[in-house]
C-alpha cells in the first residue's frame, strides 16, 4: 500500500508540469478559438512524444508498437501521472499529439506482424503523422455493435460504404482503423476492421465538427463511398474473425484508456479548482477568518476531496493494469467517477467565480466546456454503469 510517486515519476510530473505551465497554458485560448494547434507546435510535440517511448505524455497516443508484455511494469501508472499534468495545461493537446492515437491499440492487438510493421512505420518518418480510430457512426455510438458501414468482398479487395463521425484527428490522419460489417444480422461476429489510408479512392473527409469544448482537437466526419481496399488492409486477416474475438479484442483497449481519460478529467478540474482557490484568496479572504465564508470553504474542500478520490480510482485501475489484474470494472469506475467529479468541481468553480468564471481570460469557462465530453467519449456515463453493473451481477 503506497500512494506516493516514485522518484522518476515525480521528475516526469515536474517536467511535464513545467511544459504545461509555460507552453500549453499560454497558447490554450488561442488554439481553442482557432480550432487548431499551430503546425510547428505539433511537429515539436511529435518529437517530444517520440522521446518518451511508451510513456510520457503519450498516454492515449503512444508511439509505441512494443508488445504489452515488454513494457515497463509501471507504464500505466506513469502514463496517468503524465496525462494529468498535460491535461492540467490543455487537454485538447493530448488528443492532438502526433502518433497512432486510438488507432494504435487495434493495430497492436489485432494486426499481423506485417501490418504492424507497415502502419507503425509512418510514425518513424519525419513530419507530423496521425492515426485514427473510426468506430462511431451517426446511428451507432454507445451501441457499437449496431454499426451500419458495410464491407463487401470483391475479388482480393474489400469495398467499404458508410459514414463515420466524431473521429479524433480523422481528417489529418495518415490512416484510420475503420470498423464495418459484412452482415448486420450477424452482430459483432459480422464486424471487420480495416486500415484505410488517406487518399484511398472513395475515402473522403466530411465536415469538421464545431464542438462545445476541446475545440483545438480535430473531430471529423469520414465518408466511405465504394471505397476499395486490398485484403491486406483487413486487420489480423480473415483468420482473426472466426467468432467475435476480434471485436472483443478491440474493446479491451478501453480497459487501458478509460483510466487515462478519467485522470485527464482530474487534471482539467484540478486546474479549475486551483483558479477558484486563488480567486477566493484574492477576492473574499481579505484578512477575515474563513468561517466567515463557510459555504466557500465547503465548496473548496469538497472539490479537493472529489479530485483526490477520482485520482485514486484512476490510479487503482492503472495499478491493476500494470499488475496484469483484470480491471474492466475498475477502469469503468475510474472513468465514470472521475468524469462526474470533475464536472462538479468545474461547475462549482464557475459558481464561486460568478461572472469572472465566464471571462475567457480565466480559462475556467473553457475547462467547463472541455470537461463535459469526458462523461461522453470512451463510453458514456451510462455505458460505464452498465459495464460495472454487469460485472457486479455476474
Amino acid at each position: 500500500m503506497e500512494f506516493r510517486l516514485s522518484e522518476s515519476q515525480q521528475q516526469l510530473k515536474e517536467m511535464i508540469h513545467g511544459f504545461a505551465h509555460s507552453v500549453l497554458r499560454p497558447m490554450s485560448l488561442e488554439a481553442d478559438r482557432a480550432h487548431r494547434l499551430p503546425d510547428d507546435f505539433l511537429a515539436k510535440l511529435g518529437m517530444m512524444a517520440r522521446a518518451f517511448p511508451g510513456g510520457g505524455a503519450a498516454g492515449l497516443t503512444a508511439n509505441d508498437d512494443a508488445p504489452v508484455a515488454k513494457r515497463s511494469s509501471s507504464q500505466h501508472r506513469t502514463t496517468l501521472v503524465a496525462s494529468e499534468e498535460m491535461a492540467w495545461g490543455d487537454a485538447a493537446v493530448i488528443l492532438s499529439i502526433p502518433g497512432p492515437g486510438l488507432g494504435g491499440p487495434p493495430v497492436r492487438f489485432m494486426g499481423t506482424p506485417e501490418q504492424k510493421e507497415r502502419y507503425f512505420a509512418v510514425f518513424k518518418q519525419p513530419g507530423v503523422h496521425f492515426g485514427a480510430y473510426g468506430l462511431t457512426e451517426p446511428g451507432a455510438g454507445s451501441d457499437v455493435a449496431g454499426i451500419a458501414t458495410t464491407c463487401r468482398k470483391d475479388g482480393d479487395h474489400w469495398v467499404l460504404d458508410g459514414r463515420k463521425c466524431y473521429i479524433t484527428n480523422g481528417a489529418r490522419a495518415d490512416w484510420v482503423v475503420i470498423f464495418a460489417t459484412v452482415d448486420r444480422a450477424l452482430g459483432r461476429a459480422g464486424h471487420r476492421a480495416f486500415v484505410v489510408e488517406k487518399g484511398t479512392p472513395g475515402f473522403s473527409v466530411g465536415k469538421i465538427e464545431d464542438k462545445m469544448g476541446l475545440r483545438a482537437s480535430e473531430t471529423a466526419e469520414l465518408v466511405l463511398e465504394g471505397c476499395r481496399v486490398h485484403e491486406r488492409h483487413l486487420l489480423g486477416g480473415e483468420e482473426h474473425y472466426r467468432g467475435s474475438e476480434g471485436f472483443m479484442g478491440a474493446m479491451k483497449t478501453f480497459d487501458a484508456t478509460r483510466p487515462v481519460v478519467g485522470v485527464m478529467a482530474v487534471g482539467i478540474a484540478r486546474a479549475a479548482h486551483e483558479v477558484m482557490v486563488d480567486f477566493v484568496k484574492q477576492n473574499y479572504l481579505l484578512s477575515r477568518p474563513i468561517p466567515r465564508y463557510g459555504a466557500l470553504a465547503a465548496k473548496i474542500a469538497e472539490g479537493a476531496r472529489l479530485l483526490d478520490a477520482a485520482r485514486l480510482m484512476c490510479w487503482r485501475a492503472a495499478w491493476m493494469a500494470d499488475e496484469g489484474i483484470p480491471n474492466a470494472k475498475e477502469a469503468s469506475m475510474a472513468k465514470a467517477y472521475a468524469a462526474r467529479a470533475a464536472m462538479k468541481v468545474a461547475s462549482d468553480a464557475m459558481d464561486v467565480m460568478g461572472a469572472h468564471g465566464l471571462e475567457e481570460s480565466h480559462l475556467v469557462e473553457k475547462w467547463y466546456r472541455d470537461l463535459k465530453v469526458f462523461d461522453i467519449f470512451e463510453g458514456t456515463a451510462q455505458i460505464q454503469r452498465i459495464v460495472i453493473a454487469r460485472r457486479l451481477l455476474k
Binding site: 500500500m1 503506497e2 500512494f3 506516493r4 510517486l5 516514485s6 515519476q9 509501471s74 501508472r77 482557490v277 477566493v280 484568496k281 479572504l285 477568518p289 474563513i290 468561517p291 463557510g294 466557500l296 470553504a297 465547503a298 473548496i300 474542500a301 469538497e302 479537493a304 476531496r305 483526490d308 478520490a309 477520482a310 485514486l312 480510482m313 490510479w315 487503482r316 492503472a318 495499478w319 491493476m320 499488475e323 470494472k329 475498475e330 469506475m333 465514470a336 467517477y337 451510462q382 460505464q384 454503469r385 452498465i386 460495472i388 453493473a389 457486479l392 451481477l393
Partner: protein, 368 residues
C-alpha cells in the same frame, strides 16, 4: 510507487478479522445492539491481539494502514461492535500523538490488558487550574465513549490535555442513543480532580491535528466496512427478489444504483488507505488526507446505506433485516467524530493557507 497491494501479513490479518466479523459479530448484531458487547466477546477479540493495532509499530501496533483494514472488517460485521471492541478506543492515539515517550509507554501498559478500556473526553467545558506543581480539573464531559468506566481517561481541559486514572473521574449517566447502541457512551465529571504536571500531555497543535486525523481515519475505515455491508446485502437481495417477472437487479435503474454504491465503497476505501498511509509516514499531509477521507467515507457510506434500505423497500425498513440499522449507525459514526463541516474548514484552511482549522477554533463537535 503507487500501489494498492496488501502485504501477506495484511492479507492474513484481513482474512482473520473477516472470519471473526462474519461468524461472531454479524449473527449477533441485534443482541449486541440491545445489551452491549459481553465480556466473553471482548476476550475473544483481545485474543486476536488487535486491541492496539492502530498504534505505530514502535509502540507495538501495526500502523493505521493495517488498522484501517481491521476496522473495515469489524464494521462489516457490526459497526457498533467495531467501536465497542476497540476497548482502549482513542486513548492510545492521544497518548502517542500528544504525550512524550515516557508518558505513552507508562499509560499504554495499562491499556494493553484483556478488557481494558480507555476514553478521550472532549466535549464539554472542564477547567484546569494550577495548584502548586499540580493541576485541578473541574467540570463535566459529555458523549464520552467508555465514559461509563474507563481505566484511563484523556481529558481536554481549557487548552490542555491531561491523562487521568479512571478512578479519578465520576462516571455519569449512559446516553440513550438511537444508533450504535453497542457502544457505551456516557458523560463523566471531574470535581477538584488533582492531576500531576507529569500527566499533562504537551503535544503541540500539529500533534493535536494528527490525533484528530487518526480518529477520523479509524471512523472512516468503519464507514467503509458499513458501506460494504450495505452494498453486498443489497446486491444479493436484489438478485433474489423478483418483481414484474424478473430479479429486480435486472432493472436498469436498480443496477445503476448498485454500480453507484460499488463506486462509493471503493472511492471511500481508496481515500482511507491513502490517508492512513500518509499518517503512518508522519508529518502533516496526513491531516488533510484524513479530513478528506472522513468526508468521503461519511457521505459515501450514508448514501450506500440509504440506497440499501431503498432497494430493499419495505424489507429495508423492518428490523428483520440489518440494513435499517446500518442507515442509523452510519449517521452515528459520522457525528461521533469530527463532523464534516469541521473537516471542510481544515481542508479549505490548508488550501487557502489560513492554517488548520480546529474544533477548538470553530465549531465544537462531539469528539470522543
Amino acid at each position: 510507487m503507487i500501489s494498492f497491494a496488501l502485504s501477506e501479513e495484511q492479507q492474513a490479518i484481513q482474512e482473520t478479522v473477516r472470519r471473526f466479523a462474519t461468524n461472531e459479530l454479524r449473527p449477533r448484531a441485534r443482541e449486541l445492539e440491545q445489551s452491549g458487547v459481553p465480556a466473553a466477546l471482548r476476550r475473544t477479540f483481545h485474543d486476536l491481539g488487535l486491541a492496539l493495532c492502530d498504534l505505530p509499530e514502535r509502540f507495538g501496533g501495526l500502523g493505521l494502514a493495517t488498522a484501517a483494514l481491521v476496522h473495515e472488517e469489524l464494521a462489516f460485521g457490526d459497526p457498533g461492535a467495531a467501536v465497542a471492541l476497540f476497548g482502549p478506543h482513542l486513548a492510545p492515539s492521544a497518548l502517542v500523538e500528544l504525550g512524550d515517550e515516557a508518558q505513552a509507554t507508562r499509560w499504554l501498559s495499562r491499556l494493553d490488558r484483556p478488557g481494558a478500556r480507555g476514553a478521550v473526553a472532549w466535549n464539554g467545558a472542564v477547567t484546569a487550574k494550577r495548584a502548586g506543581e499540580d493541576w485541578i480539573l473541574d467540570g463535566e464531559k459529555r458523549f464520552v465513549v467508555n465514559g461509563d468506566g474507563a481505566d484511563v481517561v484523556v481529558v481536554f481541559a481549557d487548552d490542555q490535555a491531561f491523562v487521568v486514572e479512571g478512578s479519578a473521574v465520576t462516571p455519569g449517566r449512559r446516553a440513550a442513543w438511537g444508533a450504535l447502541q453497542a457502544v457505551p457512551v456516557a458523560s463523566l465529571s471531574l470535581a477538584g480532580t488533582r492531576v500531576a504536571e507529569a500527566n499533562r500531555l504537551r503535544g503541540d497543535r500539529i500533534a493535536l491535528a494528527r490525533f484528530f486525523a487518526r480518529a477520523q481515519v479509524m471512523a472512516a475505515a468503519r464507514q467503509v466496512g458499513l458501506a460494504r455491508a450495505g452494498f453486498e446485502f443489497a446486491l444479493a437481495y436484489t438478485q433474489e427478489r423478483t418483481a414484474f417477472g424478473q430479479p429486480i437487479a435486472q432493472f436498469q435503474s436498480v443496477s445503476f444504483d448498485l454500480a453507484e454504491m460499488a463506486m462509493e465503497v471503493d472511492a471511500a476505501r481508496c481515500m482511507v488507505w491513502r490517508a492512513a498511509a500518509e499518517l503512518d509516514a508522519g508529518g502533516t499531509s496526513g491531516v488533510f488526507a484524513a479530513a478528506k477521507a472522513a468526508m468521503q467515507a461519511n457521505q459515501g457510506a450514508w448514501r450506500v446505506a440509504d440506497d440499501a434500505v431503498q432497494l430493499l423497500g419495505g424489507a429495508g425498513y423492518i428490523r428483520d433485516f440489518p440494513v435499517e440499522k446500518w442507515l442509523r449507525d452510519t449517521k452515528a459514526l459520522a457525528v461521533l467524530g469530527q463532523v464534516d463541516e469541521v473537516s471542510q474548514q481544515t481542508v479549505a484552511g490548508g488550501l487557502l493557507e489560513t492554517g488548520i482549522a480546529f474544533p477548538l477554533d470553530a465549531l465544537q463537535p462531539v469528539v470522543t
